[in-house]
């Protein structure tokens, strides 16, 4: 038996060389994806002298935690970190509640005016006013520079409503009918039957939403100019891209400032450290959600 399958497999295999090339190419792509961040990690752990002279490639040279220790004392970073966690929690929580409620309404076969509601949802998916009218509206509503400017426009997503609705559609209608006979109203049916059964799709949406909030900066850069409410990514932009935060000034004590050379080294080091500290939560979490990605993407594409 094994001899037969082996022979069959060899036919499909073609040449060993092709196999080797495929494995090498795939490995190379994996390397390209991981290495830049790994490189930043080992730079952040190496001593500044080794980091600046480009001697670090595969593993940290020296062991240096000073950068991380200093970062712990940086208030601006932690304020923006706290803000981002708050935004992620608020937007994701609201999105799950608002979208699953709307989706339940659409999933009931006895809903009146379904056609109108479908068009109501469809129009904004194809046409949008763009960023300027939204900006003017936010200003006019008095939300400018408040956390609500991010949270409220981010509290719904029509696409998610449709995703949840199509998931609800796979739940047997007899479950709903049985609950109705027992005298349960719609709120009760949604909370005790539909939501518990729909955990997979809700998990996908929660993950997408959290990642989106965690990594987003564009809308915040327009709506939140007051730095007390700015999310993590805007702080990162100032440090990494605009380079308007002089990390050396911020992190070094006066004695250390005297050593000008060291000062420059320390500032580069801090950048690497900040990249690691800000990206770590997402990097640690995503592999555990992998099994959900395919589900979410497929459900999305089927309806397109």
């Amino acid at each position: 038996m094994s001899a037969i399958t082996k022979k069959k497999r060899r036919i499909r295999e073609g040449s060993l060389l092709a196999d080797a090339l495929i494995y090498i190419a795939a490995g190379f792509l994996a390397f390209i994806c991981i290495y830049p961040l790994y490189y930043v990690l080992i730079l952040s752990l190496s001593t500044p002298e080794n980091a600046i002279t480009m001697q670090v490639f595969w593993y940290p040279k020296g062991f240096y935690l000073e950068g991380y220790r200093r970062l712990l004392q940086d208030n601006n970073l932690w304020i923006s970190y706290r803000n981002t966690i708050m935004y992620a929690a608020a937007e994701t929580g609201l999105i799950l509640i608002v979208c699953s409620m709307a989706a339940y309404a659409l999933s009931s076969p006895r809903l009146r005016g379904r056609k109108f509601l479908n068009y109501f949802l469809l129009v904004p998916m194809y046409f949008s006013g763009g960023i300027i009218p939204l900006f003017l509206l936010v200003v006019q509503l008095g939300l400018y520079n408040t956390p609500w400017a991010l949270i409220l426009p981010g509290a719904y997503n029509i696409w998610y409503i449709i995703l949840i609705k199509s998931y609800f559609g796979t739940i047997s209608e007899s479950l709903r009918e049985a609950a109705e006979l027992d005298g349960a109203n719609s709120y009760r049916i949604l909370a005790s039957i539909y939501l518990p059964v729909s955990k997979p799709i809700l998990a996908v949406i929660a993950l997408y939403s959290i990642v989106g909030v965690w990594n987003g900066w564009y809308r915040a850069s327009i709506f939140i100019v007051n730095s007390n409410w700015q999310p993590l990514q805007l702080y990162l932009r100032r440090v990494l891209v605009e380079q308007t935060v002089d990390l050396s000034q911020e992190f070094l004590t006066t004695e250390e400032l005297l050593a000008d050379q060291m000062n420059r080294l320390g500032s580069n080091q801090m950048k690497y450290t900040i990249i690691i500290v800000s990206s770590l939560p997402m990097i640690l979490v995503y592999p555990y959600f992998q099994k959900f990605f395919a589900k979410g993407v497929m459900m999305g594409s089927l309806k397109e």
């Binding site: 092709a18 994996a30 009218p133 997402m282 995503y286 992998q290």
Partner: protein, 315 residues
């Protein structure tokens, strides 16, 4: 007689129930409806300022005598401005690069990985390829900038080969490559999920019988795998072409700078600069509207073409 009345009562009970249920359903739909009206429909209405000389501080609902209607003035001004050609050219250049690499890379990657038979290795490569998606655009751009610095890793490697160091990010010639590489790096792994799942839903019997007929690996890809994902490729292509005028503004805003505007300034960044920072609200709203109309037409036309050529499309 009795039976008739009982049936009638059942019906009224039923319709009363349906009414009560609909009240509940609409109350559930209400929060979403409210948010959608405020944050999707009102900005849509706000597009009218493209046909006005909008005064900062004025209400975007104002339709009274304070509103100065100017017709197509802003559209004409944009089309005849010196920026028009440059912005369209830059946007199209970056979009074409994205079609050439950003669109094809996920397909090639999925086909490649499908040929890897070790499940563990496949899983590892896949997980690794998702990583850049979970790194923020700011960090990706920041890493790119720091690698390209005068004292960065790219220049020190080039220095070892005898190439004199350069501030790559400041030269317009290098910008399209830098932008495209960052963009593709960030997206190809995650975008390949779609193709992956589609490939895995192809009936394995097809491969079995092809193998029995002696099909080579290449023939199997060409005659089974590719036709199996043709539909998804067509739909994605239609979507992508519809978006040729919206490049990744997020990333562009982080990577571009005044010295590279000649290749890096795109429609999205121009709107951001002139509109949000410069306060030319009516003018930039007009540009945005102009672009989304063209985008819609493009989606429509490519969908038609795709329907004709492959039999697949979005609608």
């Amino acid at each position: 007689m009795m039976r008739k009345e009982a049936a009638k009562e059942r019906r009224t009970r039923r319709s009363r129930y349906v009414f009560r249920e609909n009240v509940e359903l609409y109350s559930l739909f209400f929060p979403a409806a409210l948010l959608i009206v405020i944050f999707s429909y009102i900005p849509l209405w706000g597009l009218v300022i493209a046909f006005q000389d909008y005064l900062a501080g004025n209400s975007i609902f104002a339709l009274n005598e304070t509103v100065k209607w100017v017709g197509l003035k802003h559209f004409r001004r944009f089309v005849s401005s010196i920026y028009f050609g440059r912005l369209i050219g830059n946007t199209l250049r970056l979009s074409v690069l994205d079609l050439l690499f950003g669109f094809t890379m996920p397909i090639i990657f999925a086909l490649l990985l499908n040929e890897v038979r070790s499940l563990k290795y496949k899983k590892f490569v896949q997980t690794a390829s998702y990583l850049p998606h979970f790194i923020s655009t700011v960090v990706a751009a920041g890493m790119m900038l720091s690698f390209l610095e005068m004292g960065g890793v790219v220049n020190s490697l080039a220095g070892a080969l005898g190439i004199s160091p350069k501030e790559y990010i400041a030269y317009p010639d290098y910008y399209p490559a830098i932008y495209t590489i960052t963009n593709v790096w960030k997206g190809f792994g995650f975008s390949s999920i779609l193709y992956f799942s589609t490939i895995s839903s192809i009936d394995p019997v097809l491969y079995e019988s092809a193998k029995i007929d002696g099909a080579t690996r290449w023939q199997q890809i060409k005659h089974i795998t590719l036709p199996g994902i043709r539909f998804i490729i067509a739909v994605q292509l239609v979507l992508q072409v519809g978006k040729v005028l919206n490049t990744n503004t997020d990333l562009a805003l982080l990577l571009y700078r005044p010295s590279t505007y000649s290749t890096s300034d795109v429609i999205g960044t121009y709107i951001y600069r002139e509109g949000i920072s410069g306060g030319k609200y009516s003018y930039t709203t007009a540009i945005g509207l102009f672009m989304s109309v063209i985008g819609f037409i493009l989606t429509f036309v490519t969908n038609r073409i795709s329907n004709k050529l492959t039999g697949y499309g979005m609608w």
